[in-house]
Amino acid sequence: MSNTYAHPEVLVSTDWVKENLNNPNLRLVEIDVDTKAYDAGHIPGAIGFNWQTQLQDQVGRDIISQAEFEKLCSDSGISPEHTVICYGDNNNWFAAYGFWVFKVYGHRDVRLMNGGRVKWLNESDKPLTTDKPQWPAVTYRSPGVDASLRALLPEVMAAVSSGKYNLVDVRSPDEFTGKVIAPPGMSETAQRGGHIPGAKNVPWSTAVNPDGTFKSPDELRSIYLEQKGVDPKKDTIAYCRIGERSSHTWFVLKYLLGLNNVKNYDGSWTEYGNLVGAPIEKP
């Protein structure tokens, strides 16, 4: 087994980003849950997206529509030909969610900056600015929705009854066992604690080193495939509480390990744990 990721092109290093700061084919996008971080300082040229208000529908519970996504990219000066580099706070959770949304709407070349904003911040040769970029607006057209990346409830229910999927619960052990419904202080919760029957608990942080970068291909293979028993021959659904930590693991399973059919269940526990009559495992 070679020690390379299955799709190494989707991951770029902070050094690579620094060398490409003036590359006109790039658009950097910082995606934060708390945009104070972007406002205080970001990578020169980076556009800032607010995960809650710009990537999610503001009325119904959903990701933004294709038309909204096209408008967001158009106004931000992102064209379908651009290589989009996502990075963000909280260990790239929200950047991974943004990456997923870009992929769902068929953006050809989107990548994640390994280690996120904290790694950049702590490297002395990496500049930050408070200047907001003014990229000229363009007209963005999405080729359409790639439904193969997203698990909706009916498929999750089918996965539970068939037992033919890997269900990967990336929440903390206390959320998995139902000791808590959400991490302390979080407002999005559910009526019930526990996990989807048959799910394996592999907390998202299992995939990263102390500096926030992803572990090596061999380490990831050993953790997910050997220790945790994710079966590469099966289809896989990753979930968490609201779908952002699971995007991070979805990225690992699909692009770094190269598993075949991996979906992010963005409804996650705040959908499943509220369903009347849904089977729950709680040890």
Partner: protein, 344 residues
């Protein structure tokens, strides 16, 4: 009207230096500026003996009242040492002020000092900091960033407030320099040069035990290094709140990796104490000893009482970081009965 001479002026005259016995230099307590009130060996924060709560008649237990420092907490010491260093190195001024991650006290000290010198100060605080401290930061003129830290980033990454403060310092270096109390050796030196020598002199070298809490660990590391240089047998006992705590200013061992000043070899024993006791013992201190101490002092008292109850003779000093006034909302949260019958 004739002008008073101030302590600083008197101290600088040869007469004052030669003619006054130790400890009386500050007897009139008239100062040329608030900065001259900052504690040092000649102007120590007071120590008060614990009388009713101490179970061991052979063990003298003292509380060192850090809230009597001019900006209200033990953090006056670290703040002053870090700010003076930045001033000496020309790192502040010309529009450049400070940005600092803080649970409140360091920010309050730094902001008050900075404002008194005409410097800006930006404080980055986690949301769980009590409202009183956030408002105090604004009262003393700090720009305030409140951060939702509840998401708990992975271990090793530092916390959100440290990273946001670093971001300001890096992206706006013309406006901000970050003292960084979690890494700045001046934080330890402050206690090496003031708190430690004060305790040594105040106890006339009889101190056998020191009790402190762990935040940045500047206090415990600096005090321990000084006192052990005088007497290697002195026991340094640290308290930490149980996991999941909300005692402002303190860290559980699991949160200590951001505190680069933590030096385990400076500490004999770390006692983990149920964090609810921080609030209950603070109340005990107010009611039994008349000491208006805050929750971190309450936790320290609990650790000291456990040690004292099992010790023989000795002389212990507890470093009480701040007072209860900033924690009214926290006290109500933990002891809800305090809020009953407060309205007509």
């Amino acid at each position: 009207m004739p002008e008073f001479s101030t302590e600083t002026e008197q101290r600088s005259t040869g007469e004052a230096r030669a003619g006054r016995s130790r400890g009386t230099d500050y007897s009139r307590r008239v100062f040329a500026s608030v900065f001259d009130m900052l504690p040092n060996e000649d102007n120590p924060s007071p120590m008060v003996r614990i009388n009713r709560l101490n179970p061991n008649a052979n063990f003298q237990l003292f509380a060192k009242l850090e809230w009597l420092n001019p900006f209200g907490s033990v953090k006056d010491r670290a703040a002053w040492a870090m700010l003076r260093d930045l001033l000496e190195r020309g790192e502040v001024g010309n529009g450049r002020g400070l940005v600092e991650p803080t649970s409140g006290n360091t920010g309050i000290s730094l902001a008050a000092m900075a404002q008194a010198m005409g410097l800006r100060m930006r404080a980055v605080v986690p949301n769980k900091v009590p409202l009183e401290k956030k408002v105090l930061l604004k009262i003393v003129g700090a720009e305030l960033d409140v951060l939702n830290d509840a998401l708990c980033p992975a271990p090793g990454l530092g916390d959100g407030s440290i990273n946001l403060a670093k971001t300001h310092a890096k992206a706006s270096p013309h406006r901000y320099v970050m003292p960084n109390q979690y890494e700045n050796p001046k934080n330890v030196e402050a206690h090496l040069h003031t708190t430690g020598p004060e305790i040594w002199r105040q106890t006339e070298g009889r101190v056998t035990h020191v009790f402190a809490s762990l935040g940045t660990c500047g206090t415990v590391t600096g005090v321990s290094r000084f006192l052990r240089s005088k007497n290697p047998n002195i026991k340094v006992i640290a308290v930490q709140p149980s996991e999941g705590h909300d005692v402002p200013g303190l860290r559980n061992i699991s949160q200590l990796d951001v505190s680069k000043l933590f030096d385990r070899s400076c500490i004999d024993e770390i006692l983990e104490i149920d964090y609810e006791l921080a609030y209950r013992r603070a109340l005990d201190l107010c009611r039994a000893e008349g000491l208006i101490a805050g929750p971190s002092s309450g936790l320290i008292l609990e650790g000291a009482l456990r040690t004292v109850a099992q010790a023989g003779a000795g002389c212990g000093v507890m470093i009480f970081p701040d007072n209860i006034f900033k924690y009214v909302s926290s006290m109500i949260k933990h002891l809800p009965q305090l809020a009953s019958e407060t309205e007509a």
